[in-house]
């Protein structure tokens, strides 16, 4: 922009010519917008036409297959339908991508930052929409499956979306769980207890440690934090065996504590908290210190209220982790097992429980995903300080 202004100055500096030039530019922009709109509608129309053709084709084959299935016509079931379905999904993905692109270009034409080409932007929108559809497909399919009645679950070729939506699978699940030896509510209570206590303790303990590591320079602090960073790499699987031995020495096998205590010390929580607290102005703490506040008081009344995004984030990470534990290696009593464990046993029940298995998958995944959706902005705010400084 600044360079253009300089050129204007050299070519003629009276108000008239500048205004005239601006008017010309505006007219050009308007014409360009019109052209873009026209081309866009043409492209969308072509895509829509393709979609209709493919859909009609699918409808035809489907009707034919149905008649074959009922024995009205001689012949084999036509499986070409799956090819058309994939084409249809691809066309829909491209349409969504292009429509979004068009919308953004028309609503915010000035958004374009320097160094952004039109074709590059278009490419990103199309690529991302296709990949996003591919990424979301398995999850969408799982959710759709859980809403299908039995005959549609085993239908071949399959349909992505259910024709007759039903909640039978979920009610069957409740019936099966109701018949189990240990009442269903017990599993739920176990998981809720583990999740709640584990998360609460983790947030408290990890933020206390993070506070001193971030804000005070004391011997051993840096070394300790470096060890924690290394420990980020060791998942529960690898430490599982020695942890089992330690738990058995502490006589904690087959108690909730075998799950809860290691969760208190999860390195990711301390790491994120410490990185976030470093962004907090040290002046705040120094001022409180001069006013005579104790360290505990500073922590509780000044630091904690100011790192809300961080503790929300570590709550979410901890809940995700604990909600999904099946803890089958450390908990043996049926009455202490977790919800996910019970659900997985139902899921492993084979072909007869296909519908219920789909319902289980949805129940297990819906909790962490919906929590993430609700708190995305807080999590991203925390993750912005997650980098490992040198």
């Amino acid at each position: 922009m600044s360079m253009n202004n300089l050129e204007n100055k050299s070519s003629g500096y009276d108000l008239e010519s500048i205004l005239a030039r601006r008017r010309l530019e505006e007219a050009q922009a308007k014409a360009e917008r019109k052209k873009f709109l026209l081309i866009s509608f043409l492209i969308l129309a072509v895509l829509a036409a393709a979609l209709i053709v493919v859909s009609v084709q699918i409808g035809k084959i489907e009707a034919y297959n149905q008649q074959v299935g009922q024995g009205l016509i001689e012949g084999a079931i036509d499986n070409d339908i799956s090819v058309y379905m994939v084409i249809r999904v691809a066309v829909i993905a491209v349409m969504i991508g292009y429509a979004l692109f068009m919308l953004v270009k028309l609503l915010k034409p000035k958004r374009r930052k320097p160094n952004r080409s039109f074709w590059g932007d278009l490419g990103i929108y199309l690529l991302m929409s296709i990949i996003a559809v591919a990424m979301a497909f398995p999850l969408v399919f799982s959710i759709a499956s859980s809403l299908k009645p039995l005959d549609e679950l085993f239908r071949f070729p399959p349909k992505v979306f259910p024709q007759h939506i039903t909640l039978d699978n979920f009610s069957d699940l409740i019936v099966v769980l109701g018949q189990s030896w240990v009442p269903f509510s017990r599993y739920l209570t176990n998981t809720v207890f583990i999740t709640f206590v584990g998360t609460f303790g983790h947030v408290l303990i990890a933020s206390m440690a993070a506070f001193v590591l971030a804000k005070y320079d004391f011997p051993g602090g840096k070394a300790f934090f470096n060890i924690v960073v290394t420990a980020l790499m060791f998942s529960g699987y690898v430490t599982g065996i020695p942890n089992y031995i330690i738990m058995s020495k502490l006589h904690m096998i087959d108690t909730y504590w075998a799950v809860i205590l290691p969760a208190f010390a999860a390195p990711i929580g301390l790491f994120l908290m410490k990185q976030f607290m470093e962004g907090l102005p040290t002046v705040l703490i120094e001022a409180a210190q001069i006013d005579g506040a104790s360290q505990l008081r500073i922590f509780w009344t000044i630091v904690m209220p100011n790192v809300k995004p961080a503790w929300l984030t570590i709550i979410i990470f901890s809940v995700q982790n604990l909600w999904n534990t099946n803890a089958s290696t450390v908990i043996y009593s049926e009455s202490k097992k977790t919800l996910v464990y019970a659900l997985q046993q139902i899921q492993a029940g084979g072909i007869a429980r296909t519908g219920m298995a789909a319902a289980v998958t949805v129940i297990v995944m819906i909790v962490p995903i919906s929590i993430f959706i609700l708190s995305q902005s807080q999590i991203l705010e925390t993750m912005a300080s997650s980098g490992l400084k040198e």
Binding site: M128, M135, P138, A209, M233, F234, G240, P242, P267
Partner: protein, 312 residues
């Protein structure tokens, strides 16, 4: 020489005294750190130390550990062919899903960052969801089912690319590629979130300055401005990638069975599970765990030193 040693010890003593003095002045800090440090020590450091210790013993939980020197490691390398398969598989998965997953999560995060805010919010959920969706990857066992009713099989049969259904999850030639695809699908995890957040935090005025200085397209911008200012996130993302790439366990177990055909989907972690929780040979399992620790730490060191050179 003696005077040098004397001076050195004196210096060390002085340093120690200074640190002790400092530490005593900062008692509260240790008080704050203590609860976490004790738990962390018990459940993260002690396990690692004890697994190194138990790896030199024969230990089956019932009897007390018996010291057998390097025998576990010798058996591991010379006699246990399954372990070598597991090592090979783990490395194949790690070498492919680690770097590819890492680069893809950065690329996707970068592309997502180009989108306006409301689309970005949706896109982040779509890409991040698979990694937190619990065991939703079970759906892939239907997609890759071995008979003609498996979705992929029926699709390929349609196109005439194959003339008989492929047993994707039972044929040793195909198990690993399937596992790798599923793991890549789930690889947009914590590192990805860190990238998304980091990209939003890059100073806008740097891009404008770069434009004035002659950067002409988005790729140059990526290389000269974005990557150098994203370095801390890149380092963090690498740690997260190593974690997921080496700790592969659930996916092959759920998809290919446990044990899988010809141990084709056996990874180091499933091998460790087998010896630890099925056969209760804790000493041997500890040796496996120790090998994995060492490999992961070395890998992390190497990658961190490479990444520090990016864009500088």
């Amino acid at each position: 020489m003696t005077s040098f040693i004397k001076r050195y010890t004196e210096m060390k003593k002085e340093e120690l005294r200074y640190n002790l003095h400092k530490a005593s002045k900062m008692k509260m800090c240790y008080f704050f750190l203590a609860p976490y440090a004790i738990l962390f020590f018990t459940f993260f450091i002690l396990p690692i130390a004890s697994s190194i210790f138990f790896s030199f013993t024969y230990y089956n939980i019932l009897e007390s550990p018996r010291f057998i020197g390097l025998q576990n490691y010798i058996n591991l390398i010379l006699q246990d062919e399954v372990f070598l398969t597991a090592v090979k598989n783990t490395f194949v998965v790690a070498v492919i899903t680690g770097p590819v997953g890492y680069i893809l999560s950065f690329l996707f995060a970068w592309f997502i960052n180009e989108l306006p805010r409301w689309i970005r919010t949706v896109a982040v959920v779509v890409f991040y969801a698979p990694s937190i969706a619990g065991n939703a990857f079970y759906i892939f066992s239907i997609i890759f089912r071995g008979d003609a009713y498996g979705y992929l099989n029926s699709f390929l049969l349609q196109f005439g690319l194959i003339d008989a259904p492929i047993l994707w999850l039972l044929n040793p030639d195909y198990i690993m590629p399937v596992v790798i695809i599923v793991i890549l699908w789930m690889s947009m995890g914590t590192g990805f979130l860190s990238f998304v957040a980091g990209l939003q935090g890059v100073d806008r005025s740097m891009y404008e300055a770069g434009y004035v200085d002659g950067i002409r397209n988005r790729w140059q911008e990526l290389y000269y401005i974005t990557l150098p200012s994203m370095k801390p996130m890149l380092l963090f993302g690498a740690v997260m990638s190593i974690t997921t790439a080496f700790n592969v366990c659930d996916v092959p177990r759920a998809l290919a069975g446990y044990p899988s055909t010809d141990y084709a989907a056996r990874t180091i972690v499933t091998h460790l599970f087998d010896y630890g929780f099925s056969r209760f040979e804790m000493g041997y399992a500890s040796a496996i765990a120790t090998v994995l620790f060492v490999v992961m730490i070395l890998c992390n060191k190497a990658i961190q030193s490479i990444l520090r050179k990016v864009g500088t």
